[in-house]
Amino acid sequence: MTDNGHAATDGAPRRDFLMLVTGAFAAVGVGAIAWPFIASLQPAKDTLALASTDVELAPIAEGQAITVMWRGKPVFVRNRTAKEIQEARAVPTNSLPDPATDQSRVQKDQWLILVGICTHLGCVPTGQRATDARGDYGGWFCPCHGSHYDTSGRIRKGPAPRNLDVPQYAFTSDTKIRIG
């Protein structure tokens, strides 16, 4: 600009460059300051540390199910009957909204371990007790917006997009599992 004594012709590109460099530094600076604040909102170390839960399977009779808490969420542990297993395996997988074989969802046929949280918007489906509504497919039913899950915890009908999640778990002995 002429009013502050600089020649407009050769000063302009240099000024543009300086503006860009300043802007880039400012952007990096803002990012560097924002980072710790956003990270502080993510799960803290003690939250992450509550990561595993042991479950004793022996007391769960065939046809029964229990609910345990893992990372603040309910986990369903169901001792399936032969009929339930057979129903889960009889359906052709390609007819399912979220295709998966029953075999891929269990480690031992009779034990079905699931995160008990509807994949729609996070309610806890009913079906753990024999008296609960279990939906049209004998597994679980989510009362919030009407999702039906089968005896493999797969979504069959309703707004939920995915099957109930299978958490990471391992058999630590024949009658014990560790979730997480």
Binding site: Q42, T67, R71, G72, K73, G116, G122, P159
Partner: protein, 422 residues
């Protein structure tokens, strides 16, 4: 007057001394004293002032509640019960705060309805309108997080369902949900951050209200005729005329508010929220607070998760572009024989959605919700843009004072010309 001082017209020496150095008194006098205001307001124009008063009530009661409230999952429910039973007048402060949220939404819904019916969103008030939509979104966030604080069953499951809405977004969805939760489910970190934000957001709202009013005082108010004042004969000074009219409305408002607080404090609430939160059992019938029901109905009307979430957010975001969807030059629907009918139908649809949102999502309810949702969007995206082309408005009055003091409308040809500039 010495150089550098404001030329104050106030006579009181203390007021004058301050005003010369910081002319807040001059500003208040200009914006709320002599401010020229159309002389034909009806009672719909009270609701902005009512909303302002309600915001102050919410902040005042909220600050006092915070002095007794404990934001921890193991203490929150009991601390609210302690407020209700042991803290002196705690029940009153909480009931005012709880019902104040409902009153706030009633007032703001009527305020928005007023804006839509009288075309207050049209040029030159587009930015004013958009700031209003921002306030509404912030209010929704604030009320949602406030409802989580007492940590009852509805608090917990409402928080779970609403935060899970964000998981519908591809790629970033789960990241956002974890940021909201600070863990793997709604839990203590969630409660803590919601309390922090619930305290903060009302003050952000206050800031945006300030901008909203600042924009209003540039364009001036709209009025039931939707035509601009043409001069002093069309306006009145805000004080004492509208301070008085607003006070009348305020008294009636306080009566309604008091009836709710003293005689039916839990009428608008849900009894399940007096059961402590239990992360293992979802109540069989979860419903959001009444003021969220229309959007909840839209969410459930769509069988697809992401689609439902998008339509739900879209149902409010579409308000932002309303000034550009409705291109008719006539503001007030008094002079729009067709738009008026379509808009009243839209209002009915909104109320139908509010009603159906509380019903189970099955059978005919779903069908009703779908029809109402379709009309909700059709009104904005199809009907309004078309009406601007095909509707023939009624003749506009020549001026506010002529319409108020009698005198016929102008002949057809003169009125059909595009909106006059003040």
């Amino acid at each position: 007057m010495s150089i550098g001082l404001h030329n104050s017209e106030f006579k009181n020496p203390v007021v004058r001394w301050i005003d010369q150095r910081m002319p807040v008194f001059t500003m208040m006098q200009k914006e709320y004293g002599t401010f020229p205001t159309p002389k034909n307001f009806n009672y719909f124009w009270n609701f902005g002032a009512l909303a302002m008063v309600t915001l102050m009530i919410m902040i005042a009661t909220g600050i006092f509640l915070s002095m007794h409230y404990a934001a921890h999952t193991s203490l929150a429910f009991d601390s609210v019960e302690r407020i209700m039973r042991d803290v002196n007048f705690g029940w009153l402060i909480r009931y005012i705060h709880m019902n104040g949220a409902s009153m706030f939404f009633i007032v703001v819904y009527i305020h928005i309805f007023r804006g839509m019916y009288y075309g207050s969103y049209k040029a030159p008030r587009e930015l004013l309108w958009m700031l209003g939509v921002v306030i509404f979104l912030l209010m929704m966030a604030t009320a949602f997080m406030g409802y989580v604080l007492p940590w009852g069953q509805m608090s917990f499951w409402g928080a779970t369902v609403i935060t899970n809405l964000f998981s519908a977004f591809p790629v970033v969805g789960n990241f956002i949900v974890e940021l909201l939760w600070g863990g793997f489910s709604v839990d203590n970190p969630t409660l803590n951050r919601f309390f922090s934000l619930h305290y903060l957001l009302p003050f952000v709202i206050f800031g945006v209200v300030f901008l909203h009013v600042a924009a209003l005082h540039i364009t001036g108010s709209n009025n039931p005729l939707g035509i601009e004042p043409k001069g002093p004969q069309d306006t009145l000074p805000f004080h004492p005329y509208y301070t008085a009219k607003d006070s009348v409305g305020l008294v009636v408002y306080f009566i309604v508010f008091a009836v709710l607080v003293f005689f039916a404090p839990n009428y608008l609430g849900h009894p399940d929220n007096y059961i402590p939160a239990n992360p293992l059992v979802t109540p069989p019938h979860i419903v959001p607070e009444w003021y969220f029901l229309p959007y909840y109905a839209i969410l459930r009307a769509v069988p697809d998760k992401l689609g439902g979430v998008l339509l739900m957010f879209g149902s409010i975001l579409v308000w932002f572009v309303l000034p550009w969807l409705d291109r008719s030059p006539v503001r007030s629907m008094r002079f729009r024989p067709l738009a008026r009918i379509f808009f009243l139908l839209w209002t009915v649809c909104f109320l139908v959605l509010l009603w159906v949102g509380a019903k189970p999502a099955e059978g005919t309810y779903v069908l009703i919700a779908r029809i109402a949702t379709a009309y909700y969007f059709a009104y904005f995206l199809v009907i309004l843009p078309m009406l601007a082309k095909f509707e023939r408005p009624l003749p506009l009055p020549e001026s506010i004072s002529r319409a108020v003091l009698g005198g016929g409308p102008l002949p057809m040809g003169a009125a059909a010309k595009p909106m006059e500039k003040a």
